[in-house]
């Protein structure tokens, strides 16, 4: 009786393992460039500011193997990326997707540069306008003073 149970369990285990998504039976040839391309977009989770493609860590190399296996199993690059995002969240993506609150990250620098140029232009316009508009009034020189200047120039000091 217990033998039957063991056999049933073994059969179930076989079915279970066959149902795993990473089944290498239908392995397709994998383009290493695609593996690299997916890796560059994923954060190496144990590093600081390194992608899975660039990191020499063991974790990153295991993740590259997982990328390769999922591609070999017939997944598209987008599906492989979704697999990682579903487990790690958008945090795993080195570039945040351009939507929702994330748009701030993409738009704020552009807005800041535009605002900076606008402010600089406004200031330059104001400064040049002031110089043009304000005339220096002619200095009043009385007769005695001009006579003195003339004398001192002629004395040729």
């Amino acid at each position: 009786m217990s033998r039957v149970a063991v056999a049933v369990l073994a059969a179930l285990a076989l079915i279970g393992s066959g149902a795993r998504p990473i089944a290498a039976q239908t392995a397709k040839p994998v383009n290493e460039d695609v593996v690299h391309e997916i890796g560059t977009q994923l954060r190496c989770v144990v590093c600081q500011n390194l992608s899975v493609a660039d990191s020499p860590s063991e974790m990153a190399s295991q993740m590259r193997v997982i990328i390769r296996e999922r591609l070999a199993a017939g997944e598209s690059p987008a599906e492989v990326q979704r697999y990682f995002v579903e487990r790690y969240g958008e945090w795993i993506l080195l570039a945040p997707p351009r939507r929702g609150f994330n748009l701030l990250v993409w738009l704020f620098p552009v807005a800041a540069v535009v605002a900076g140029f606008a402010a600089a232009a406004a200031l330059v316009w104001r400064w040049t306008r002031r110089r043009r508009g304000v005339r220096t009034p002619p200095v009043a020189v009385d007769a005695a003073m001009s006579e003195r200047i003339r004398r001192e120039l002629e004395s040729g000091s």
């Binding site: 393992s17 989770v45 295991q62 993740m63 969240g89």
Partner: protein, 178 residues
């Protein structure tokens, strides 16, 4: 007009300061797991003694799934006695503690288990597939799986007696309710 401009420039700094205040209050280490409330990914590994261990075989129990490594000092060294103590305390009540050793050498793992006298099952995730399935980005990380097989709590850092007991008691209490 001129007075308005004088106020506008310092006012422009306010949203930036608000954003910085928000950003600096958040810990960059607290990364919310998208797995909370979702079914715990199934896995089957061999323990250090060579026995098969699968999550499916423990459905219906509260599973405390602990990712660790022998090089993870001090946090993994702090929590190892806590896990062992609570495994002994709770194992009769339908709680399973399982350790998954990642990015590690077998000898180092065996020494760690021996040094702390760990009696709960410990398996090595040699290919890293289980770690990635659970979105593990460091050690230690501990997942509390309820009796329905859903991930309910993810704890980053060393597990304390308090964290273990409050979480497991809560999951046990709700599981007995029909």
């Amino acid at each position: 007009m001129k007075r308005l401009w004088r106020w506008l420039i310092p006012l422009a700094a306010v949203p930036v300061l608000v954003l910085l205040a928000y950003g600096f209050r958040m810990s960059p280490r607290d990364i919310p797991s998208p797995l909370l409330g979702r079914p715990a990914p199934a896995f089957a590994l061999a323990t250090l003694e060579g026995a098969p261990w699968s999550l499916e075989a423990h459905r219906g129990k509260v599973v405390v799934l602990n990712f660790w490594a022998s090089w993870c000092y001090p946090a993994c060294y702090e929590e190892a006695p806590v896990l062992e103590r609570n495994w002994r305390g709770y194992r009769e009540r339908g709680v399973v503690v399982v350790g998954v050793d990642i990015q590690d050498k077998r000898d180092a793992a065996l020494k760690f288990v021996g040094d702390f006298g760990l009696t709960f099952p410990v398996a090595q995730d040699l290919k890293g597939t289980v770690s990635v399935d659970y979105g593990v980005y460091g050690v230690p990380e501990t997942f509390f799986v309820d009796r329905q097989g859903r991930i309910r709590v993810k704890h980053v850092g060393a597990v304390t007696d308090d964290v273990f007991r409050t979480t497991v008691d809560r999951l046990l209490a709700e599981a007995t309710a029909p």
